[in-house]
Amino acid sequence: MTRTDVLQGTLDLMVLKTLDAAGEIHGYGIAQHIQQISDDALALNQGTLYPALLRLEQRGWIRSRWGRSDNNRKARFYRLTTAGRRQLAAETRSWERMAGIMQRLLDGPSSA
């Protein structure tokens, strides 16, 4: 199975969407969620999540707190803020627009 690299700039959107869907969840959970949704087709170095999480938190789109995970381990849980929800909506729209453009471009006539 060939795995697709994570496209530059898309990780933030994936994380925001995951948090929107899963509610409050720790880093491992986010990674599992992305892997499951992508059917393991994504070549994600899970560690790269953490700088992304920090960046999103610094922007005020997500917030974190320390808590206990299912197996009673200490873990850091992240959730979306109101600003994050707005950002997710905006980024979803722009992604869809971009995807539409790409689609039209690729569907267009080719010389071959």
């Binding site: 491992y28 170095n45 560690g47 790269t48 953490y50 610094q58 005020g60 995970s69 873990a75 850091r76």
Partner: protein, 885 residues
């Protein structure tokens, strides 16, 4: 800036703090993630070890994640700087010898600069210790030849005080006088300053307790009132507020204390008592007044100057005698006037000390280059691992800034300790009313100095690292390093330039040392050995009359001579080497008219003075105790300079001199030899001596008002505490006229040389430092050159070069560098020593001895400094060096 970016900035700034906690939290988060991953693989049936490996694979490289995380967390720029600093400290600690050498060089350089600058700051930059002192203006006379006077007469003072609209208030300060202050049964010697009532307004400092003088008290016969210093009040009046209104005796006259000045207030010169000047409007009072004005708000110095010109012109129109021809009233900033006499010396020493810093910098730059070269491999490896050129330069710079910063810190401590001491010892710098404590300016200058030097010697080595050399270092086996041509050239030039700088300083020091030696060998004109002097102030109405005064001296001298060990004693109104009262005398037999007024020093003596001092009589006779009495023919002695300057070829003996109009005519009965009258090394000065019995009342009042008189006594060595016995002897006949100081004549002479001595000590210290630093520089470069060429030397020895040849080659190289430096230094010094013109005595500023000595000295040092590495080179074992290939 959008709120998002602002939020990001705030978050990142916050990220700079609590690094340790955040780092721990990240570790914990990563560990949690890895454990969760591993758990899942174990559930899938993998062994613990395999599960862990799989988890690591999924997670990616932990170190890279952490790096990216840190990068995101804080401000990368600052993080990098902090990291560079930490790295710098670590790598400096790994090279303690290098670090110590660099630190010592820099600390000496920066410390010396901070210390001298703190004195410059105190004397030239800090405002005078009075409120709004930048508005204080000293008014004096500008002569047509461009010279500037120091005083005004009463008429000019009144003109300025009455007419100047650019001044808010104006004060006149009279000559400071020694008084005997008595309170109850205690007497002490104090300095008093007569000032106008406006004095306290001009300086904006009223008495802390009591009140200033009223204008009425400042008129002739306005009353005897005094304001005293805080110190005198504490010391002598028991610090009691009840002292206000008390009566004290000032040289026998009762004065009422009306005020006490605040603690810390200092006049210039510092005195303990202020009395009203009481200058009559009709009295010009001679050119004896320092006039200080306080500029009105909103006026510039230009306005003051043009108003002073207008007052001069107006005054001359009303009265042609208002001022001498061609002179004009001239305002100068009081601050500038007070620093005038030490300004040049201060700036020259600041120049000298910056040269020392420059040399220190050159040395450290050299050390850094050597270190950068020997670290070539380390740097090349880091470059290969992806550190950019800028990053590597940044790390080198961080090291130099750490060193410079540390040196700056120590430098501040040096300034803090040495600065005030230096000011105290600096003759004429005004330590009694200035302070050289650290302030923001000294701090700032030291910091700027440290950072600049750090940047200068930190970036220099970076230029010697050419990128092509980096790859070469990687191929290198580590036991030898190739010194790039560029680095070698730069290092040579650096050493030559520090030699040049050291030569300049050494020549300066040589000139001042020779000056001091010349001054020391000046014959003062009398026997100083065993001569003790004691000062007192007979400034009291009782002693206005010469009969009373000479009776006091006669009685006192009798008792003093009776003290065992005392061989002779006399009294003089002004000690040689110090100075006496200047008067105009009229040469009666001369052609007459204004031109025949001679400006001479006038001193009274008791008849034994010349024999006690050992001043030879050139011709004629000396004073005679029995013959030259009060009602006999008034007689005078003049010194040789008086005869030479005023009487030329004519026979002095038998001529008559008149000191004051209608005064007695003194017949010259003898000529005495010149002594160093105005200070050691000064030009000869005309002096006229009269016997105390024949001294006029006016002369006594004038000289006692300004100068203390001196008892001189010759005592046999080891005759015990003569001073205490003399004190007791005089106290027994007059307890109200105490001695102010006891000094040996050698001390008096030494005090006259204190300024040149001070210059010599400082400049010698600085040039000694320069010499040491320069020789360390030569040594360092030659040592490095030898170690870099060990293989080449080994080969040479293998093919038959003798040890002597090797030593000659290495020493020759060192000497070549030194010669280049010495030549440049000699040329530089030839251009610069002119600046020392006013400081040298008996030696030309192009003195060949000083120039030669500096050149030879440095060449010798160069030979010695390169001899050690040369000998090491000669002992190179060719077999070993070749085997390491």
């Amino acid at each position: 800036m959008s709120t998002g970016r602002l939020r990001m900035m705030v978050a990142r700034c916050a990220g700079l703090f609590g690094r340790r906690r955040r780092e721990r939290e990240l570790d914990e988060e990563i560990r949690h993630h890895l454990e969760m991953l591993a758990d899942r693989y174990i559930q899938d049936g993998l062994s613990a070890e395999h599960a862990w490996n799989a988890a690591r694979r999924d997670f990616g490289r932990v170190a890279a994640v952490k790096e990216a995380y840190r990068h995101q967390r804080g401000l990368p720029m600052i993080e990098i700087v902090l990291q560079d600093l930490r790295y710098g400290i670590r790598s400096l600690r790994r090279a303690p010898v290098f670090t110590l050498a660099a630190l010592i060089s820099l600390t000496l350089g920066i410390g010396a600069n901070s210390a001298i600058f703190s004195v410059v700051n105190a004397v030239l930059l800090r405002p005078l210790p009075y409120p709004e002192s930048d508005r204080l203006v000293h008014v004096t006379r500008l002569y047509s030849n461009g010279a500037i006077g120091s005083s005004l007469d009463g008429r000019l003072y009144h003109a300025v005080a009455d007419d100047a609209a650019t001044f808010e208030s104006v004060t006149a300060i009279g000559s400071t006088t020694g008084f005997n202050l008595a309170f109850g049964t205690e007497a002490t010697y104090v300095r008093a300053m007569p000032v106008t009532a406006s004095y306290f307004n001009v300086l904006r400092t009223p008495p802390q307790i009591g009140r200033p003088f009223t204008p009425q008290e400042d008129t002739p016969n306005g009353g005897r009132v005094a304001v005293v210093s805080h110190g005198l009040w504490q010391r002598f009046l028991n610090g009691d507020a009840g002292a206000i209104g008390q009566s004290v005796q000032l040289s026998g006259e009762p004065y009422t204390v009306i005020g006490v000045m605040p603690e810390g207030f200092r006049s210039v010169p510092a005195v303990d008592v202020w009395v009203p000047l009481q200058l009559a409007r009709s009295n010009t009072g001679g050119f004896n007044f320092a006039v200080i004005g306080r500029q009105a708000g909103g006026t510039g110095m230009d306005q003051v100057a043009s108003e002073m010109r207008a007052i001069t012109e107006g005054g001359l129109q009303a009265n042609p005698d208002f001022m001498f021809e061609g002179q004009v009233l001239f305002p100068r900033s009081y601050q500038d006037v007070l620093s005038g006499n030490v300004r040049t010396a201060l700036l020259l020493l600041l120049g000298a000390v910056s040269v020392v810093l420059l040399i220190a910098c050159v040395n450290v730059a050299n050390l850094f280059i050597a270190r950068a070269l020997s670290r070539g491999r380390e740097i090349a490896i880091r470059a290969a691992l992806g550190a950019g050129r800028r990053r590597i330069m940044g790390q080198l710079l961080a090291e130099s800034l750490i060193l410079a910063g540390a040196a700056g810190g120590v430098g501040l401590i040096v300034a803090w300790v040495v600065g005030p001491a230096l000011l105290d010892l600096w003759p004429g710098a005004g330590a009694e009313w200035r302070s050289a404590t650290l302030d923001a300016r000294v701090l700032l200058v030291t910091a700027a100095l440290s950072i600049t030097t750090g940047i200068v010697f930190g970036t220099l080595p970076a230029f010697t690292l050419d990128s092509s050399g980096l790859a070469g270092h990687l191929r290198d086996d580590g036991t030898r390093t190739t010194q790039s041509r560029r680095a070698g050239w730069i290092r040579g030039a650096l050493v030559a330039s520090e030699v040049a700088l050291a030569v300049v300083l050494l020549i300066g020091a040589g000139l001042l040392v020779r000056t001091f030696v010349n001054l020391r060998s000046v014959d003062v004109g009398f026997e100083t050995e065993g001569l003790i002097t004691a000062q007192m102030s007979p400034n009291s109405p009782r002693f206005r009359d010469s009969a009373e005064l000479s009776a006091f001296y006669r009685q006192g001298l009798e008792r003093v001579r009776a003290i065992p060990g005392v061989q002779g004693a006399a009294v003089v109104s002004g000690l040689p080497v110090e100075r006496g009262l200047n008067v105009l005398v009229h040469d009666v037999e001369g052609p007459g008219g204004e031109e025949e007024m001679k400006l001479t020093d006038l001193r009274y003596v008791t008849p034994e003075y010349f024999s006690v001092m050992g001043i030879p009589i050139g011709s004629g006779r000396t004073f005679d105790v029995n013959r030259d009495v009060a009602d006999a023919q008034p007689v005078a002695l003049v010194n040789q300079e008086f005869a030479r300057r005023f009487l030329g070829e004519e026979q002095p003996i038998g001529r008559h001199l008149q000191v004051y109009a209608r005064g007695p005519m003194y017949e010259i009965v003898g000529v005495v030899q010149d002594v160093q009258e105005m200070g050691v090394g000064r030009d000869p000065h005309p002096v006229m001596y009269v016997p105390v019995d024949q001294a006029q009342t006016g002369f006594l009042a004038s000289t006692h008002g300004i100068f203390p008189i001196s008892w001189v006594l010759r005592a046999r060595a080891g005759s015990g505490d003569v001073a205490a016995q003399v004190r007791a002897a005089i106290r027994a006949i007059d307890p109200m006229t105490p001695f102010s100081s006891f000094r040996t004549m050698d001390q008096v002479v030494a005090a006259s040389l204190s300024t040149p001595r001070f210059h010599v000590v400082l400049i010698s210290l600085f040039s000694g430092l320069a010499l040491v630093l320069a020789s360390a520089g030569i040594y360092g470069v030659m040592t490095y050159a030898v170690s870099a060429r060990t293989r080449e030397i080994g080969v040479r020895i293998a093919i038959g070069a003798s040890a002597a040849t090797i030593v000659r080659t290495v020493v020759g190289q060192g000497v070549l560098l030194a010669v280049a430096g010495v030549v440049v230094g000699l040329i530089g010094a030839a251009g610069l020593t002119r600046l020392l013109e006013s400081f040298v005595f008996g030696v030309s500023t192009y003195d060949p001895t000083s120039f030669l000595a500096a050149a030879v000295g440095l060449l010798l040092v160069a030979v010695l400094a390169s001899a050690i590495p040369a000998l090491r080179a000669a002992r190179v074992d060719p077999v070993r060096t070749l085997r390491t290939e």
